[in-house]
Amino acid sequence: MHPTDFTLRGALDALNEGIISSVELTQAHLDAIGKLNPRLNAYITVTGEQALAQAKASDNRRADGGAGPLEGVPLAIKDLFCTAGTRTTAGSKILGNFVPPYESTVSGNLLRDGAVFLGKANLDEFAMGSSNGTSAFGPVENPWSRRNDPDTRLVPGGSSGGSAAAVAARLALGATATDTGGSIRQPAAFCGIAGIKPTYGRCSRFGVVAFASSLDQAGPVARTVEDCAILLKSMSGFDPKDSTSADVPVPDFAAACARGVKGLRIGIPKEYRLDGMPAEIGALWQQGMDWLRAQGAELVDISLPHTKHALPTYYVVAPAEASSNLARYDGVRYGLRQTAADSDLRDLYERTRAAGFGDEVKRRIMIGTYVLSAGYYDAYYLKAQKVRALIRRDFDEAWQKCDAILTPATPSAAFGMDEKQDDPVAMYLNDVFTVTANLAGLPGLAVPAGLSAEGLPLGLQVLGRAFDEETVFAVGTALEHAANFTALPGLRASA
């Protein structure tokens, strides 16, 4: 077995049993990155030397009997997490060669638990995108391809496209990702892996480059639900440096995976049955219901009546917050600075931001500025906040009837790198099933569940109550077992 084919759980077992060292495991992944990253572009920065040094230190700790929960496991870190001493780009030109002197809490937690960082994963610029096509460091390619059309290069989804592609192609055992409207779950589904956006407040946002503060949440992507559970346990926890971080205990998520679904009530929201949704998405959803019922769950029809307003609400709230969050990139203190001989301050701003931000980021800054402007605030931002409250209430009422909710993860399989790029609204529709969880602050897990007619992975999504990731993991594991998803992408280290 190729060392990159281990699951994260399997790698931890192999490390514990002395079957492999962290240095060997890390080197195998670095070799795989060397081989495949030039094509996939999943990593913006590879920190090979540092990774091997970390692996060596990890092997020493293990030998000394001081192994942490993630001891020696090589991971990819989405390049939105600040890493002390390692360039952090957010997929943007505007950060220039910014090297943070501080570590994000989440990546720091992983290091604390013994993880090895292979490098910084590519992403849509400032996490704004659903295809990884907006990265200033070039697009990421999905390691999967269509059965009858192998030459068309596909997107890995976004914004955590680099993280998902790296994990799917065996360039990491797992990766950190972030999800503002679906940025963990959609790429996980497109790449045939699992990914969870936990409850808002579960993971600290300290040191994560902000997109939309009230929606952003870090989470893991990995090749199994249990691997996600293991990673999430390390990533989570109250952080006094983030005022929105929740001071709640972190349960043993991995233990919850095996709980089973017997007696659980699974809500099926009728509003997620979209007009024009591909038949195979509907069929997969039905399959998921059947799997859960077969394992003892009870299916309940529920209604989330404000679902249709979720996407427009999201595209008011997220850009509004982004327009303010991204104001700090002004060329004054760090990152890119563009001036002309006679530049005044305003000219410095204009040149720097014109050169530093890509089109999608500029589009969202303009939308956000517009919806917050005097005379428009009430009609857009305030209205969106009201609708957001209604969407939350929809879920509160649903939880009276069910313990988890099952939906498709995405309205389609991965699309071609040349498709949808000129149509922002079509691109935004990728998030139609995922944004509600961000607006309501709820946990959402994407699980690979089957293949499309073209042989591309399709995912199902499990939503849960706030801070009840355990039930979400139990349902996700039940789906995973039933689906027995063994298909492999064409581009992978061991191929």
């Binding site: 600040c82 501080y102 917050e321 327009s323 303010s324 004054v332």
Partner: protein, 482 residues
């Protein structure tokens, strides 16, 4: 007596409201752990949060909230248990985040009122509209280099209280009295040092004018006035300007103006049309600020004595209302007075502090914070007066020596032998000597020239180098002259 200005079309009343920015006294900034000391090396008190680095998040400083609550209580204002921080968005080089975190829609302190004392002894109540917490920006220095601007972020993120008054003031004097009182209250509370020279307190002055019986006319805001005197001058200058505009048949346009202290006039800074659209919205990095009534009660119970209460206490001690007012104006003066008066005659202590000490401060160009004579020493001097070691005249001389040498009065008395002579035998001897030397004048006195009595006393005191106890000398002369 109400204040009005005469124009060519009649009598005008002026309407003034103040927005005062007061820097919160605290060890660290409103949303970061960085220090707040004034005068530190540029950019030496800056955290990554204050500099707006990627991924940095604000965390509220509990002490700053406590200071705002204390101030609210001192202003007799409503404390809002639920308040919220908003972002005020604008670009400037010394605003690292691209927004200021402020409490726009839901301030922590609501309406209140304070009573101010005017020059004629009357009082007036001024309404407080609100007090909210916000971050300060950094400082842009445009005069350090021919083509570059320098940015100092030491102030970036420092907590400010913006205290907004109702438009209740009707004269420059009232505006001055309000600001004086506000400054006095925050100094007593220890919530702001009130130091206007260092920018710890600055005022935006809203001025309009109207004819008697009218509603409010358009107002102008004079920004960033940094002394009480300038506030009073700015009110008058701006009111006169507006009267001229109205009387010329024009309209006063709402705008922001600056006070030119050198020329004593206000100048236009920007009109309403150029005003920023700040795009306020709730800061998603900060949950609403929720505080408990029990905590507010705790803070209230621990409040220090406020100026009004202290003034009342002083008049009860027998001080004149004027002395009580003067002594409580500055917290340091009151603290000085308390030390001097402790266990002593309060009225005498007040006389010395407001008389000799204030004169000495003026003469030596010092301040009550760094007084020419420590309060303990002045207290000891009063003790020497009380136990008759010193006469009033001698005490003045010792006080002068205290200023000069910094030594305690007891030591000066010892070193210079300035002790008052109360030995009646010694006094009688000098009296006899003086009368003997002036036999002719004694004869005149006995012949009815009674005013010579003072001459004999003076001669005795002179012979005793001023150290004779005046009462005893008086008695001895009287006795000797029979």
């Amino acid at each position: 007596m109400s204040y009005t200005l005469e124009g060519s079309t009649g009598t005008w009343e002026i309407v003034v409201g103040l927005e005062v920015h007061a820097q919160v006294t605290s060890q660290s900034k409103l949303f970061s752990g960085a220090a707040t000391a004034f005068g530190a090396e540029p950019n030496s008190q800056v955290s990554f949060v204050d500099a707006g680095f990627p991924g940095m998040l604000p965390v509220i400083n509990r002490e700053c909230v406590a200071q705002a609550v204390r101030t609210g209580l001192g202003l007799n204002a409503q404390v809002n248990l639920w308040s919220r921080f908003d972002r005020k968005n604008y670009f400037y080089a010394d605003l690292p985040q691209g927004y200021q975190i402020s409490q726009f829609a839901h301030p922590i302190i609501g309406t209140g009122e304070i009573e101010v004392t005017l020059g004629d002894g009357t009082t007036k109540t001024i309404g407080i509209t609100r007090l909210h917490l916000e971050q300060d920006a950094g400082k842009s220095l445009h005069d350090q280099h021919a083509t570059k601007s320098y940015i100092d972020l030491n102030r970036s993120g420092v907590a400010l209280m913006e205290i907004v008054s109702e438009p209740d003031m009707r004269s420059p004097e009232e505006a001055g009295a309000y600001l004086t009182k506000l400054r006095q209250i925050v100094q007593y509370l220890g919530t702001c040092d009130g130091n206007m020279d260092e920018g710890s307190m600055r005022a935006d002055v809203n001025v309009s004018v109207r004819k008697a019986g009218e509603g409010f006319r358009t107002r102008c805001e004079v920004k960033n006035v940094n002394s009480i005197r300038f506030v009073m001058q700015a009110v008058e200058a701006e009111a006169k300007r507006q009267i001229e505009v109205w009387e010329a048949g024009d309209e006063v346009r709402q705008e922001t103006r600056l006070f030119d202290t050198a020329r004593g006039i206000t100048r236009s800074m920007r009109s309403k049309e150029d005003a920023h659209d700040y795009r306020y919205f709730p800061d998603p990095d900060l949950p609403p600020l929720v505080i408990e009534q029990a905590w507010v009660d705790e803070l209230r119970a621990a409040l220090p004595e406020l100026p009004d209460a202290r003034r009342g206490r002083y008049t009860a001690l027998g001080l004149t209302p004027y002395d009580a007012h003067v002594l409580t104006l500055e917290k340091e003066t009151a603290a000085y007075f308390e030390v001097v008066a402790k266990g002593r005659d309060a009225k005498l202590a007040a006389n010395w502090v407001t008389g000799d000490l204030f004169a000495a401060i003026n003469a030596t160009k010092t301040s009550i914070a760094e007084p020419p004579v420590p309060a303990e020493h002045l207290g000891q001097l009063l003790d020497l007066l009380a136990d008759k070691t010193l006469s009033g005249t001698l005490a003045k001389a010792v006080f002068a020596a205290m200023i000069e040498t910094g030594k305690a009065p007891g030591m000066i008395v010892e070193e210079r032998g300035m002790r008052q002579v109360t030995d009646t035998g010694a006094i009688d001897a000098v009296v006899a000597e003086v009368l003997g030397r002036n036999a002719d004048k004694v004869a005149q006195y006995k012949g009815g020239a009674e005013k010579l009595f003072g001459f004999f006393v003076g001669q005795v005191m002179k012979a005793m180098q001023g150290k004779g106890n005046p009462a005893l000398v008086n008695d001895a002369v009287k006795k000797a002259l029979g």
